[in-house]
């Protein structure tokens, strides 16, 4: 009997299975944050329930935290009330919390892998759709709502209908300047924003195998932007090298036992998927989104499309609306679109490798006059390690603001927002209307493209910069 990676991990976690019912799945790690939990804790109190496994539950603050003056009182009283509710709830229910200012604080999907808590073969959930990130380590990780957060807090399980399986195979060498971000944007452009709906995607092929763990985290992170339930990559030597020695990784004899187990997780030869898609890496170029969903993208060499060119009516309507919102004309060269804001950060591209890639472009250069440019590290540790390498000085010298860790301008819940009409090259994951602030216009790009764009003031790739 052959099985896929996702099926193996799924079956290991079934606590109860009965015909006509969803499987009851055990949850190995539950990550929580301030935004999607207050009502869940209220529900527990109302029903007189406790947290079943405090030792498998970790809290941090990320979504609405400020990225400036974090040691001063927060003038946003509604955000403060929510952050205080998390402190109170964690204290009352005995949950470990890494609050703002703590060395382990950061975006929930950055700190899980960083601490070695996210490991192959685990089930990981969080009240955030980008939980798919952790699948890069071979975990089955997916986003849930607040009722489900309450369910996991109370039972450490979730009733779930087993999704279908989808293989996305990317083979070949990535051309110079093409990154993990471009791979996932190309995949979403290919299959669409609902192309992965109802499925767990397994990313396979030599290109995926050749990505660093940080690049794999970027790919799996945006699985949800293709509508997928989760994205996974089978663990391999890259995974083990990344995990070994991290604070929560197995140690000593346990490390060997864990490795033996993790090596059994890969999809068996001959196992079949419900759907398969293949891409050739050598065809890829840096991507820039022009629309208001992550599938509406072009290569950097391309043009803003004419909505009339879409044969499918809903896609045509959607492109028309998107161009109106984004204030773009069909036929405009992507490189001719002027940008006034650059945001580098988020759970998609806020890790150390991302900051290194952007800094490498910016070293010895300065951002275009009038450009607002922000770097928000994905975690306090990323910030600290970047500073130890001197990356902060590169960014500041180039004219970027160097901020404290959090979700920041990815979703505009803190003061880092776009003003109406502002246009942003962003390394984040969503270009929905108003995502980064009411009336703001978002274009998703890789860290290298964001940095080059900051220098030239219009979309550009690092190669476009003259020395």
């Amino acid at each position: 009997m052959t099985a896929t990676l996702s099926r193996k991990v799924w079956d290991r976690h079934v606590v109860h299975r009965a015909a006509g019912e969803p499987d009851l799945l055990y949850v190995d790690l539950h990550l929580i944050h301030e935004v999607t939990t207050p009502q869940a804790f209220d529900g527990l109190r109302l029903a007189g329930r406790k947290v079943r496994r405090r030792d498998l539950t970790l809290a941090t603050m990320d979504h609405n935290t400020p990225t400036l003056d974090i040691d001063k009182p927060n003038p946003d009283q509604i955000a403060t009330r929510q952050l205080e509710a998390l402190v109170r709830n964690c204290k009352e229910f005995g949950i470990r919390l890494y609050p703002l200012g703590h060395a382990n604080q950061g975006i929930v999907h950055v700190i899980g892998p960083q601490l070695g808590l996210s490991q192959p073969g685990m089930t990981i959930v969080c009240g955030d759709s980008h939980t798919s990130t952790h699948g890069a380590l071979g975990a089955l990780a997916f986003g849930i709502g607040t009722s489900e957060v309450e369910h996991v807090l109370a039972t450490q399980t979730l009733p779930q209908v087993r999704p279908q399986t989808m293989a996305i195979t990317v083979d070949g060498d990535l051309p110079d300047g093409v990154t993990a971000k471009d791979v996932i944007l190309a995949i979403i452009a290919r299959i669409g924003v609902s192309g992965g709906a109802g499925s767990i995607i397994e990313y396979r092929g030599s290109t995926i195998r050749g990505l660093s763990m940080e690049g794999r985290l970027t790919v799996c992170n945006m699985s949800i932007e293709a509508g997928a339930r989760a994205g996974m990559i089978a663990p391999d030597e890259t995974t083990y090298a990344y995990l070994e020695g991290r604070p929560h990784a197995p140690k000593g004899a346990d490390w060997q036992r864990a490795l033996d187990d993790w090596r059994s997780l890969a999809t068996d030869p001959g196992a079949t998927f419900d759907r398969e898609v293949t891409l050739n890496a050598s065809d890829l170029r840096p991507y820039v989104t022009w629309g208001t969903n992550p599938a509406q993208s072009s290569t950097i060499d391309g043009l803003v499309p004419d909505p009339a060119s879409f044969s499918d009516a809903p896609r045509r309507e959607s492109a028309l609306r998107a161009l109106r919102y984004q204030d773009l004309k069909p036929g405009t060269l992507i490189r001719d679109i002027a940008v006034d804001t650059v945001f580098i950060g988020s759970c998609t591209n806020g890790r150390l490798d991302d900051l290194r890639a952007a800094a490498a472009v910016l070293r010895g250069r300065t951002v275009k006059a009038g450009m607002r440019a922000l770097v928000v590290p994905g975690s306090a540790e990323v910030r600290e390690r970047a500073e130890a390498e001197g990356l902060d000085r590169v960014f500041i010298a180039a004219g970027f603001e160097w901020r404290y860790a959090g979700c920041s301008m990815c979703l505009g819940m803190n003061p880092d927002v776009l003003a109406p009409g502002e246009r942003c090259a962003s390394t984040s994951n969503r270009n929905f209307e108003g995502r980064q602030g009411t009336g703001g216009r978002t274009h998703l790009v890789s860290p290298g493209v964001a940095a080059a764009t900051a220098v030239l003031g219009h979309f550009a790739e690092p190669k476009d910069l003259t020395s």
């Binding site: 969803p22 030792d55 109370a154 819940m413 108003g434």
Partner: protein
């Protein structure tokens, strides 16, 4: 959660595909720690446009939203179904839903009804012509019926969820019936499984 069985109501047509949860309830609203009151934030940006269909007084009091494909994509925020529920909606009818939105809606008894895209379109046109048109959603029979335009179609839902919704049962209580199985699973977990504390 109130039990869901059968109801008849008017509908409002939102003829757009891939409506994301950032539009359903913008992130500013997510700072609230209450469970109620999100109806005021429902589509708050789109509502600034006077011609937006939810501003049309002919559809005031509609309890069914007819929507385009892949409704509720994006963020996992349950605030989106909460906002729809708080604004008086009891069912969303579309040809497909985003997975997390669908799960979240089913948790609170807001019924995501999946029917063929051509029938959704036909119903949108019918409701545009006659905003008073009444649609019956019968969870027990798993049928959506609009007698006046001769629509009577089945919709799918798994037997367990249907039972939970029609009885108005507490999902957590249902899982806790398997306490023995949960404990047994816990005793078999690998020794190296990471612990937070």
């Amino acid at each position: 959660m109130r039990a869901v069985t059968v109801f008849t109501a008017r509908a409002v047509p939102l003829d757009r595909a891939d409506v994301d949860t950032d539009q359903i309830i913008p992130s500013d609203w997510l700072k609230r720690i209450e469970r109620t009151g999100f109806g005021a934030g429902l589509f708050s940006e789109w509502k600034k446009d006077p011609s937006f269909v939810l501003n049309d007084p002919r559809y005031a009091g509609a309890e069914i939203l007819l929507a385009g494909a892949n409704f509720g994509c994006g963020s996992s925020r349950e605030h989106a179904p909460w906002a729809l529920e708080d604004a008086g909606f009891r069912a969303i009818v579309a040809s497909s839903f985003a997975d997390i939105f669908r799960n979240n809606s089913l948790k609170i008894g807001l019924l995501p009804v999946v029917i063929d895209a051509a029938i959704v379109s036909a119903l949108m046109r019918a409701v545009e012509l006659d905003p008073a048109l009444e649609i019956t959603v019968d969870l027990q029979a798993q049928r959506l019926v609009v007698t006046r335009v001769k629509v009577d179609v089945a919709f799918a839902i798994d037997a367990f969820t249907k039972w939970r919704l029609t009885e108005g049962l507490d999902d957590i209580g249902l899982s806790l019936r398997h306490e023995v199985d949960i404990t047994r699973h816990e005793s078999g977990r690998a020794s190296w499984s990471p612990k937070v504390a």
